[in-house]
């Protein structure tokens, strides 16, 4: 076992030169040269620079299953020798107070930052990497990220890390497209037993079945082919084209907010393309909430209800890009072209072409349809919110002088909406916890309602309550319904002091639905079961806890 304690640039440089087997000639040219010309050095340098003081345990002769697969199906047949073995770096914050072997799993577990596999491939050495994001996000920046729990055994110590997998492409068996598939499947297979992992040789075989020329060395995969490969492993993916959709940014947010990492195809210039994964987003910018307002007209009532969408307050996403360090934040902005008024959607100055969303087979209703249905429900004569607000005891208590001018749903006070999908198991669990105190009536009603495996939820609130993390109601839609069913897809409509629920047998009784009164009602907490809240750690001089 080799142990390195790294506390300054010099030690970091010496370590990286050694672990990446940089030649003496290149090493003499200095750190700046290596950062410019050696992608692995650059990424590792940037990662380790974020840690003031860290201890790195190096496992030599490490067998990485992904690299082994690439080795046997490709590298072993090369003329020049490639090693079968990798190195694995296990990184701990601060200095270890005693010998690693003398520490318990709990002692080192508290300091465990993550692991990085170093492949014996010059220039593209970074293999499977699992790092806790809080060490690598900008300081004090709050982000919401989808993570999976990984168990790692290091010289007999059982450690865990919550991370999203990262890897660099090796350029021969894997390009950015294959890496996107590998990283996404690594996450999904870890989180859900329905899905299996694919090795590079398996991806290559699947790609070969759908190609007209050789696959090795890889020249990348089209997004249609990436989507097809996901179909082969049990997903029911949906492929969106950014330029053919007006609400692409919103759709992206809804899926990320649902805890579904998505793959994004980018155009870097006229010929070059790139693929990345989006795993989370920066916390919403409260100052921009209400800047964009959507009106929904209902012909029956001849009235318009105004809403604003939380999706409009999020434009910075957390990405896994194999050209950069993991957990980078990038802005997704619309650039208006000179004559064309429809903007070009860009992430990190690259035009977004495609989004591939790996959906489960029972996720039939799409995000855009769910949003439209929720808007229709809010504005409708029978199911809409406005009449119920007037009857609400809660608002009677809150609105005093302006009681007779109930403004929620107007341009001046639009209804704030947040749309996401959740598994009904997680949703029930969270709501059961949140309704435990003082809201038993609602809790019991939720508990006796039957849900499908996945539901779309549209939380509704006011701007003021949103700042406090509270909501005043929600619309729960059946995710197994299709768009044609429209407002008949609702399972629960929950407004202040009233609730309407439908059981599976009520489908044919859609016209006879009734709202039940809730006597004791209060605003309740926003659902937060899909993404982890991660705050970028403040980097101290000493990282000893």
């Amino acid at each position: 076992m080799i142990v390195f304690e790294i506390s300054n640039d010099e030690e970091r440089f010496v370590f990286l030169v050694w672990v990446l087997m940089v030649s003496d000639e290149e090493a003499c040219k200095g750190k700046e040269f290596l950062i410019q010309h050696h992608p692995s050095f650059r990424v590792l340098w940037n990662l380790l620079s974020r840690l003031h003081l860290c201890t790195v345990i190096v496992e030599d002769h490490y067998v990485d299953w992904v690299y082994r697969d690439s080795y046997y199906f490709y590298y072993s047949s090369k003329h020049f020798n490639y090693s079968r073995f990798c190195k694995r770096l296990c990184i701990f914050s601060g200095a270890l107070e005693k010998e690693f072997y003398d520490c318990t799993s709990e002692e080192v577990g508290k300091r465990f930052i993550g692991s990085i596999v170093i492949r014996p491939i010059p220039g593209r050495s970074i293999g499977r990497t699992l790092l806790a994001p809080r060490y690598f996000l900008p300081e004090r920046e709050l982000c919401q990220i989808r993570l999976a729990k990984y168990k790692i055994t290091v010289y007999g110590k059982q450690l865990t890390v919550e991370a999203f997998p990262y890897s660099m492409q090796d350029g021969e068996t894997t390009s950015c497209a294959e890496i996107t598939i590998l990283n996404l499947l690594d996450y999904y297979s870890r989180s859900y037993p329905e899905y299996r992992y694919l090795l590079p040789s398996e991806i290559s075989k699947l790609a070969e079945l759908n190609s007209y020329e050789r696959r090795m060395p890889t020249t990348g995969l089209s997004y249609e082919l990436i989507s097809k490969i996901f179909c082969e492993v049990g997903f029911y993916p949906r492929l969106y084209s950014a330029q053919k959709m007006t609400k692409f940014r919103h759709i992206l947010y809804y899926y990320i907010e649902s805890g579904i990492p998505v793959a994004l195809g980018l155009k870097q210039g006229p010929e070059a393309k790139h693929s990345i994964i989006i795993v989370g987003h920066k916390a919403t910018d409260e100052n921009t909430l209400g800047k964009e307002i959507t009106g929904v007209y209902d012909q029956e009532t001849d009235d318009t209800i105004w809403t604003c969408d939380i999706a409009d307050t999020v434009d910075t996403y957390c990405i896994i890009d194999d050209n950069r360090e993991p957990y980078q934040l990038s802005s997704c902005i619309e650039e208006k072209q000179m004559k064309e008024q429809s903007g070009l959607l860009k992430l990190n100055h690259c035009e977004i072409e495609y989004m591939m969303v790996p959906l489960y087979k029972r996720m039939i209703m799409e995000a855009a349809d769910a949003y439209d249905i929720c808007l229709s429900i809010l504005a409708s004569k029978k199911l809409g919110i406005k009449d119920f607000l007037l009857m609400s005891c809660f608002f009677e208590g809150v609105m005093t002088a302006e009681r007779t001018e109930l403004k929620l749903g107007t341009k001046e006070m639009p209804i704030v909406m947040r749309l996401f999908m959740a598994s009904s198991r997680t949703f029930r669990k969270k709501r059961d916890e949140q309704f435990r105190k003082e809201k038993r009536e609602v809790r019991d009603l939720y508990n006796i309602t039957v849900f499908p495996k996945f539901v779309w939820i549209c939380e509704i609130t006011t701007k003021e309550l949103h700042k406090k993390g509270l909501v005043i109601g929600e619309i729960v839609l059946d995710a197994t319904s299709s768009a044609e069913v429209k407002t008949d897809s609702f399972i629960i409509i929950h407004y202040p002091n009233v609730i309407c629920r439908r059981m599976p047998e009520d489908y044919s009784e859609a016209k006879n639905i009734q709202f039940e009164k809730i006597n004791t009602w209060f605003p309740f907490e926003r659902f937060d079961g899909n993404l982890e809240n991660v705050v970028g750690q403040v980097r101290r001089i000493s990282d000893n806890d």
Binding site: G290, K291, I293, G295, T304, Q341, K411
Partner: protein, 209 residues
Amino acid sequence: MEHTYRLEDTLENLQRILQSQFEMQADAAKFFVCLLVKDQKQNAEEEDLQTELWYLEKHDRYTTPIFESRFSISFTELKKNMAELLFQQFGTLIDDKEMINFSTILNCFLAVYRSGTIIQKRECCVYYQALNWKKMHASQEYFCVEEILPKNGENVCEHLDYIRDKKWECNLCSKENCHANLENFSIILNGLCERNVFKKYNSMYRFVI
């Protein structure tokens, strides 16, 4: 905070929403819907024609399926005010049933709308004259100043109604007599060129479309 309003509905309902929620007059609301649909350019050419047809027909209700298409529009209060002003100042130019004229003039208005500028009251006459020329010469691009000068043998102002209603102002109008000449029209045209309403090539001008 400046708000952006987004709406998605049929042409008729969009007009209704603008009238009820933004207190626009029916004609101005209809005009604004057409302008926005064209501005946001989401639709194929046949749907552009659909919008123009909808504008020119004065029926109250439409049941033909083609008018049930849904359109998305978005605008700010400022843009709405600009469009209302445009309509107030020059709406009569699109008040006939000639689709080609409507389409041509709407394109000209779109350039003003997109440039984010307004036609000042004292510039209205010049702009109107240019629009009128464009209406007569839809297939031509370039005009010279002489072609848009008011041609009235008795030098009587042709736009007194606008001036009396205070929709326009004119320094060149004195006691109902028009004193427009090449020089002062050119000055105003050049000012509009700076704001991207027209483009000048040698001594000829064209609309920015």
